[in-house]
Amino acid sequence: MISFQPDFCEIALPEEGHYSIEDYGSSKARWCSGCGAHTILHSVQKLCEDEQLPPEKTVFVSGIGCSSRFPHYMKTYGFHGLHGRALPVASGVKFRRPDLNVFVITGDGDCCSIGAGHWVHGIRYNMKMVVLLFDNSIYGLTKKQTSPTSPLGTHSNTHPRGSVIPPINPIQSTLGFANVSFVAQTIDWKPAHLNATLKKAFDHPGLAFVRIVQRCPIWMRDTYEPTVKDPNALTLLDHEDGIVLDEKAKSTFRHIEQHDPSDLLKAREMAELVKETTPIGLFYQNKNAIRYDEYGAHNLGISVEERIGAINTLMDRYAI
């Protein structure tokens, strides 16, 4: 764990022994069976265990959608807020609480449609947090409407004749936002890659944006099945500074491309790959981007006397 503000950072190790993965599980997850969210949940819980995150120091913030039910299934603090508004809430949580581990769970509608403005700015604030975009390319909870990441021609309840506008490429868009510092893509059905990506994201000193291609067997089986079944459908982005897999995990990929995640221009080129294949891995990382949460924490801990003093000094200006 990175101790970025030594004075106020209290990301403490558990005082009383070791947390097991069960310590992070709350009630049974109520997603459909076969839903990719289940595997992500497990992977996140594993991350918590691996990192021994104190549950009381960990906050999952979400919007609204199937995916956004996530916090209810974690035994940590959680904030299941408003559709599209996870990022502002999470930013508010983190701003003056550097000691908290903040995760954001959002859906493709939540993040890229109604939440798009906050997406642009949340990335720019670059607060230390992990943002997981559960991208199932559909509105799950509201029962199959076109999402901004639905492939062109998707048949949905709002577009029974097929959707008519090209989808957003969330990776490409994020790479164009100001102050972007970490962009990765993974899939819900390759736990090794998912786990490694989460770990890398968690270690990033800033906002780590991870798009997870997520299966929704209820509404989108036809869309994701080819990717799941065709071993040619994935391209692994490989680099020592990227998501590092062991050889065994790596050997399950037919296409591997070297990509240096410090190269932003190249990352944008890689993001275009999406048209033929699903590239997974770390597109971009910059550990030195300005962090707004550091600014938010810079004046924590001022004494009451000092605070009163400052107010009185201002008050003096109005004195008569």
């Binding site: 408003l82 508010g92 009163i308 400052a310 107010i311």
Partner: protein
């Protein structure tokens, strides 16, 4: 060091001064000519002398409106008196105008009356031909309107002391006014020094020169000189506008996060604290929009940090959804709405009390919240502190409704002594008491205590879905009923702690005026003036709008008629198609009718102007069939 200059006026009291109780003075000009600085200084000087003061800015709608135009009227009104002054008053007694055209903007707003002195820069009489003609026509017109005109060579006089008259004319005018109204010249000189404290000595000196020159000019050239007796108080005073008071209130409340998106007339509250708040332990977050602003504040509050969001009408509209969430999930939060003219973008710089019902009812579903409305500049300060306390104690959003009139009105009040106890408790990170539910709604009060991230054992997931005591999604219909009831009960519990409003005037009579917010000064002054003429008029002023202060029905029953006075819209019975049955009432009137089943009338308008005592008196004359205005 700067010494008072040679040109210091020699005899300052060589004539008899007329003793007056108060004066309403305006300085109007194109924007950028320093009229506001001049008026603010006059107000500060008067406050320091112990006079009651109220100043209010005259703001054009654009940043750079055309020069010498009606739309360009920029400036300030200063009302000062021997007693406490609580509002901008009726018509101006004396006006200094740096050009004659801007006066039309004020005349349209009914700011002057026959007999008002107009002191007008006369350089325009000899300007371009076109201007000279316009000038002369206007002077004639003003005379016809019954104003007393003084054409004054302001620029010419200033040029005797400085090379660029534009920069210093306002200080010359200040000197002139100081003489006309018998202001203490030493205090005035100190004020000038204070204004220019960051400039170099030469500039301070030349402004002092101008001050004294203006003073001297008034000595020589005016037939009328006044004095407004004052009594210096022992107490320390501060003088500021409502937004500045809010800004200090936010810091004094110990609020750590002020999350906002710029919007007139609210933003200046943030400007006022921007330099200081970081030393006072807080930070301003300028969000990407109003939704994000409240979302950020909600997040901070969820994490145990006290937060405020400040906005105006359109911002309130955008925050509606989050307000519902904050109520549903019981998130403490202070929401300040500096109201402006609506609906929609409306009149961004003008006053209206048009958001009351929107704030009360805006969020779909049952969304009870606390709503406070300060009625003075001083209350702007203290109510933020109160609001923060209520928000945390009752685990709920608390609204503070002010308006453009309070935001820009300036008034002295006793200097608050900042107390450590105004600050919130330090972040509670002790383990959560086992077995206590996240929403352990007290049966009688609905109140419960929330766990704060970091508290061991308190882990829960906050949700905007209907939920039970554990914050679990509610599937059982009875749970929702109980939860909604508990949230509503908090208002009843708070209400138990409130006292009925104070009645100004007799406890019974012919007419009771009911107000809220910035109109207080005007209402109480009008009622008092009416009572002096024998009218049986009293007034009350509500500061809690939700929950309502108790005992209203009892108070109302003792008056033949009850009428609210509000700056917002109501239909006028007698206008085409409008009847008593279909009339749309003013907002507080509507609310009180439902609450008390009393037939409450209203006096209201949407001119975008502060309510003046005389507007109220005019209506009182009609209602009571008395002559109340001299």
């Amino acid at each position: 060091m700067i010494s008072n200059p040679a040109s210091q006026p020699s005899e300052t009291n060589r004539f008899e001064r007329t003793k007056i109780k108060e004066a309403v003075i305006e300085i109007v000009s194109d924007s950028g000519e320093g009229a506001q600085k001049c008026g603010q200084s006059l107000g500060a000087i008067s406050a320091k002398m112990g006079n009651g003061v109220w100043t209010v800015e005259i703001i054009p709608a654009e940043i750079q409106p055309p020069a010498r135009s009606k739309a360009g009227a920029s400036g300030i009104r200063v009302r000062m008196g021997s007693n406490k002054i609580t509002n901008m008053g009726d018509h101006a007694d004396l006006v200094v105008a740096l050009n004659e055209q801007v006066l039309y903007g004020r005349i349209d707003q009914n700011a002057y009356k026959p007999g008002t002195y107009l002191l007008i820069e006369n350089k325009w009489a000899t300007h371009t031909e076109e201007t000279a003609i316009a000038y002369k026509e206007s002077i004639e017109h003003f005379k016809e309107l019954g104003y007393y005109i003084f054409e004054i060579p302001m620029e010419k006089e200033c040029l005797k002391h400085v090379s660029d008259a534009k920069k210093g004319k306002n200080m010359w005018v200040l000197g002139l006014l100081c003489n006309l109204y018998d202001r203490d010249l030493e205090i005035a000189a100190n004020q000038v020094k204070y204004i220019f404290r960051k400039k170099d000595e030469k500039i301070i000196q030349s402004n002092l020169d101008l001050l004294f020159a203006g003073y001297e000019y008034a000595n020589e050239n005016f037939p009328m000189h006044f004095t407004i007796p004052s009594k210096l108080s022992e107490e320390d005073y501060v003088v500021m506008n409502g937004n500045e008071a809010i800004s200090l209130g936010v810091m004094a409340a110990g609020i750590e996060v002020c999350s906002m998106y710029p919007i007139t007339p609210a933003t200046s509250a943030t400007h006022a604290m921007a330099e200081t708040i970081e030393s006072a332990g807080g930070i301003i977050h300028q969000a990407e929009d109003e939704i994000a602003a409240i979302g950020f504040a909600v997040g901070a509050s969820y994490a145990g940090k006290t937060a405020v969001t400040i906005t105006s009408g359109p911002g309130i509209a955008l925050k509606t959804e989050f307000i519902g969430l904050a109520i549903m999930a019981e998130i403490p939060l202070v929401i300040i709405d500096v109201q402006r003219g609506g609906p929609s973008t409306g009149l961004p710089t003008k006053v209206e009390q048009g958001d009351l019902l929107a704030v009360l009812y805006g969020a779909p579903g049952d969304a009870p919240k606390v709503v406070l409305a300060p009625s003075t500049i001083e209350e702007c300060f203290h109510f933020v502190i109160l609001a923060r306390k209520l928000a945390e104690s009752f685990r709920t959003p608390v609204f503070v409704l002010t308006d453009a009139n309070l935001a820009t009105g300036v008034q002295p009040f006793p200097r608050p002594k900042i107390k450590a106890e105004w600050f919130p408790e330090p972040l509670d990170q002790s383990p959560w008491k086992e077995g206590v539910k996240v929403y352990d709604w007290d049966k009688n009060t609905g109140i419960s205590k929330r766990p704060i991230p970091g508290q061991k054992g308190g882990m829960y997931t906050l949700t905007g879905l209907a939920h039970d005591e554990d914050s679990h999604v509610a599937y059982d219909p009875a749970i929702n009923q109980r939860a909604v009831e508990s949230r509503s009960r908090k208002l009843a519990a708070l209400r138990e702690t409130l006292k009925p409003p104070t009645i100004h005037g007799d406890e019974e009579g012919d007419l009771l005026l009911v107000g809220w917010g910035s109109t207080r000064g005007a209402i109480e002054e009008a009622a008092e003036r009416a009572r002096e003429k024998g009218a049986k008029v009293s007034s009350i002023h509500l500061r809690f709008l939700s929950p309502m202060e108790p005992g209203l029905k009892n108070i109302f029953d003792k008056f033949k008629k009850v009428m609210t006075v509000e700056i917002n819209y109501s239909d006028t019975v007698g206008n085409p198609l409008i009847t008593a049955e279909n009339r749309r009432y003013s907002q507080l009137a509507w609310y009180l009718r439902a609450q008390t089943l009393t037939d409450i009338d209203c006096l209201s308008n949407v001119y975008g102007q502060p309510m003046s005592p005389i507007q109220i008196l005019q209506r009182l004359e009609k209602e009571l069939n008395l002559t109340l205005i001299d």
